[in-house]
């Protein structure tokens, strides 16, 4: 019988300094000019910063600090339910949407422009500089020396055991990608931590979680099988705080190239 209490006590909750710094500025990274289509629009830094303040005041309560809390909407990456253009964005913020699910905010034009600027800039008020190298060199490093393709799948090629990276350039900031290479233990999302399960029938399963609740856990195992377990059927269930990958040994130029390649991965 597995002890939930014991599992919970394995958690470490002392945030690293880098975690706190990153949280403090909402989302770190360079302007997502590269990661989000801006079309003809350009936005002033002041507008983006103003938008950041308005966002945290007016929007973050429902949309969340990353803009991804409302189902079917990811403001940071430009996934909306109905709007496409900046004008439509302004209109929804001004007048509300979804029969009162989103209230009308009635902001003035300056503030509306600022909020649109912040959203279109991928939530990056600071523009931390991350070196972005050559995507072509980056791809060959990804496939070869960097050993990324040993576990990650891109556009239908490669194993599924690690998260698929086909859209990673659209959903991650450059700084997050860089940190994943340099400090994977500090960057890994909790759901992706490696797990090891021993069942009552003495089967040992390794892999990563896809989903979990109080009584069950859903897993993709090392053989790429989708497995679902009742926790009450498990002899042990361990979640490793260490990711399966170690910090990269690539040079800083090479890291910049891989980041440059990853940013081109924006889905089919």
């Amino acid at each position: 019988m597995i002890s939930l209490q014991r599992l919970f006590s394995l958690r470490t909750r002392i945030p690293s300094k880098s975690t706190l710094l990153a949280l403090g500025i909402l989302v770190a990274g360079s302007p997502l000019a590269s990661a989000q289509e801006l079309g003809d629009h350009t936005y002033a830094t002041e507008a983006i910063e103003r938008g950041s303040r308005i966002y945290s005041r007016e929007c973050a309560l429902c949309h969340g600090p990353q803009g991804d809390i409302v189902d079917g909407v990811n403001l940071r990456t430009g996934l909306f339910k109905t709007v496409q253009s900046d004008d439509e964005l302004r209109r929804v913020v001004y007048a509300g949407a979804g029969e009162g699910q989103m209230p009308a905010f009635g902001l003035n034009d300056t503030d509306l422009n600022a909020i649109v600027a912040f959203i279109r800039a991928g939530f990056d008020p600071e523009g931390v500089a991350i070196r972005i190298g050559d995507p072509v060199r980056g791809k060959s490093l990804f496939d070869g020396k960097g050993e990324c393709a040993d576990c990650h799948r891109v556009n239908g090629i490669g194993p599924r055991t690690a998260p698929d990276l086909s859209e990673i350039g659209a959903i991650r900031t450059p700084s997050s990608l860089q940190q994943n290479l340099l400090d994977p233990a500090g960057a890994i999302l909790p759901i992706n931590r490696p797990i090891r399960i021993v069942t009552r029938s003495e089967e040992t399963v390794t892999g990563r979680r896809l989903n979990e609740d109080t009584y069950t856990v859903q897993v993709i195992d090392s053989n790429e099988r989708l497995r679902s377990f009742r926790k009450s059927d498990l002899v042990s269930y361990e979640i490793s705080m260490q990711p399966s990958k170690a910090p990269t040994t690539l040079s800083s130029d090479e890291v910049a190239d891989v980041v440059g390649y990853l940013l081109t991965l924006r889905g089919q």
């Binding site: 975690t19 949280l23 973050a60 309560l61 029969e99 500090g186 999302l189 909790p190 989903n211 979990e212």
Partner: protein, 552 residues
């Protein structure tokens, strides 16, 4: 001839019907006052004036609860968190739906008799979703507060509007999300808008006419005691909303209310002083609204620690002495026991990790330990608990509620100017996550995949002993829970969680006896009632209200 006979019978039938109509069961004040004498009904938001959410029904027991089966489902027609608490009167359930509809439902089949839709003003503004938490019933009327800050009285038989009155100014972002409270001949309710710089109040209306009977501001005006806990004109837009239904002690003739956060939410430095009566419990005389006492949980709050929990009342022998108690698991992470005759602080202890304060002094006032900028504050923005209704069981003498464990927020304060009707928050916050950009917990759950995991917080159902202020047992869930509680005389505890499991737990030991996955977040408490000798238990999960009873 037969035809004539039939007509005569028909006439007789109608004569009988109109005679019966004179005595159609209504819900006079006396019935609500003695709600525990008719456990087959659920007559107020929290099941009775003591707000114990404890039913004397005992058909469902430890031994047979595994035989519960689904009897019917009512599907919500509107998406979004369904936080409504049903009222059940003599086999009819009154339940609200977003944004402001009321349905009268056959409690045995789930079929709808009538549905009333309130059309909200276009400019209604609510911080945290178009929520409504239910109705009050008194005599022959059903009462609902609306998002555009009105109180609507409906004919309980046909759902027609009898009167409608303005509770607050929708242009200034006043709103109502709570179920009203019916006491004697009055309907009482409070206003939301703590994120928009309102000045909160509790207001009572004549239940027959809708005429205002009294109105008590939760921020004292010039010349009133407590006004000096504010500086300058801060009090005019200092928040202190009331958005959860209160309780009532008929012997003391006092109604009790939890008051919400001061505004702007996160910049306490902008409003120096204790900011009374924000984040307080207040006791108001039922007939006049006169403030009898207050107890402030979080003076000069910088964390949005609304005291909008249900005031749970109990008469207990407390540490050897008979006491009229009020129990309160507060959003600020402390569990309190108060003397409800005078608001005296009896006991208070943290029930989750707390670092904004290092403890309570002998009067229950917190010793503040604000965290350096950029460092996490425990409990986080949604609190150690929130508005989800607890239960107190007179049988186990334990207090049950949903807590959020290991959940923290990093706050950022900034100067903010009050603009009428606009958000007035004074900064922002982010939820502490284990890695940069990791998914975190939101106000509700809309994703079937939990990719934030328990590393940003998890649920702990706690059974508190008011004698010690400590948990006797706790029951954890992987995701956090906004579910309320229901206990029964047979020592069953029913509750839910964001994962959508509906649980029956042994109220004495915390042992799970039965559960079923309903698939959608449970963000209200279950209710129980009885019709024709069958005990039902109803719970809302996602967009479905599911009702269970024992297999035939």
């Amino acid at each position: 001839m037969k035809l004539v006979n039939a007509s005569v019978r028909f006439l007789l039938f109608f004569a009988g019907l109109s005679a019966a109509m004179q005595s159609i069961a209504q819900v006079p004040y006396d019935r609500i006052l003695n709600a525990n004498q008719e456990p087959q009904n659920w007559l107020t938001y929290n099941g009775g004036y003591m707000s114990q959410r404890h039913s004397l029904l005992n058909q469902l027991t430890r031994d047979n609860v595994e035989n519960l089966e689904l009897k019917w489902v009512l599907q919500n027609q509107v998406f979004g968190a369904w936080q409504s608490n049903p009222i059940i009167v003599d086999g009819i359930m009154y339940v609200t739906e977003r944004p402001n509809s009321v349905m009268a439902v056959d409690a045995v089949t789930g079929r709808v008799f009538w549905k009333y839709r309130h059309q909200n003003a276009e400019n209604a503004r609510i911080c945290c979703g178009a929520n409504n938490r239910g109705v009050a019933v008194l005599n022959d009327k059903v009462y609902m507060g609306t998002l555009d800050a009105q109180l609507v009285a409906l004919d309980r038989v046909n759902g027609q509007v009898l009167w409608q009155t303005v509770v607050g100014d929708v242009n200034l972002a006043y709103s109502v999300t709570m179920a009203p409270l019916a006491v004697k001949d009055k309907i009482m309710l409070g206003v939301g808008g703590g994120e928009f710089g309102i000045r909160g109040y509790v207001v009572a209306y004549d239940a027959e006419t809708g005429e205002e009977a009294w109105k008590t501001y939760t921020i004292p005006g010039p010349g009133e005691p407590g006004h000096d806990s504010w500086e300058g004109d801060d009090w005019e837009h200092g928040g202190a909303p009331v958005w959860i239904t209160g309780s009532f002690d008929p012997e003391l003739n006092l109604t009790y209310w939890g008051v919400g956060n001061p505004g702007p939410d996160w910049n306490a430095g902008q409003r120096p002083g204790d900011n009374l009566y924000s984040d307080s419990a207040i006791a108001l005389v039922a007939d006049t609204g006169e403030l009898k006492w207050h107890f402030q949980f979080t003076p000069n709050d910088a964390y949005d620690y609304d005291a909008v929990q249900v005031p749970v009342l109990a008469d207990l022998v407390w540490r050897g002495e008979p006491k009229k108690l009020m129990m309160w698991a507060n959003r600020n992470g402390y569990f309190y026991v108060l003397d409800r005759t005078n608001g005296e602080f009896l006991e208070g202890k943290p029930y989750v990790q707390v670092n904004w304060s290092s403890g309570l002094d002998e009067n229950g006032r917190p010793i503040p330990t604000p965290q350096p900028e950029g460092m996490p504050t425990y409990p986080g923005n949604q609190g150690g608990t929130n508005w989800y209704p607890p239960s107190f069981s007179p049988s186990t003498e334990l207090f049950y509620f949903s807590a959020w464990e290991n959940y923290a927020t990093i706050y950022r304060a900034e100067e903010s100017e009050y603009v009428p009707g606009q958000a007035f928050l004074g900064g922002g916050f982010s939820v502490l996550a284990p890695s940069p950009g990791a998914p975190t917990i939101g106000i509700g759950r809309t994703n079937p995949i939990n990719n934030w995991t328990d590393e940003v917080g998890y649920a702990s159902l706690k059974a508190m002993d008011p004698q010690t202020g400590e948990a006797v047992w706790s029951y954890n869930q992987f995701d956090v829970s906004d579910s309320g509680m229901l206990t029964t005389a047979s020592d069953l505890l029913f509750t839910g969680g964001r994962e959508g499991y509906f649980h029956a737990i042994d109220a004495r030991t915390g042992e799970l006896i039965w559960n079923v996955g309903l698939g959608g977040q449970i963000v209200m408490a279950p209710v129980t009632y009885m019709v024709d000798g069958v005990q039902y238990v109803s719970v809302i999960s996602g967009n479905s209200l599911s009702t269970f009873a024992l297999r035939n």
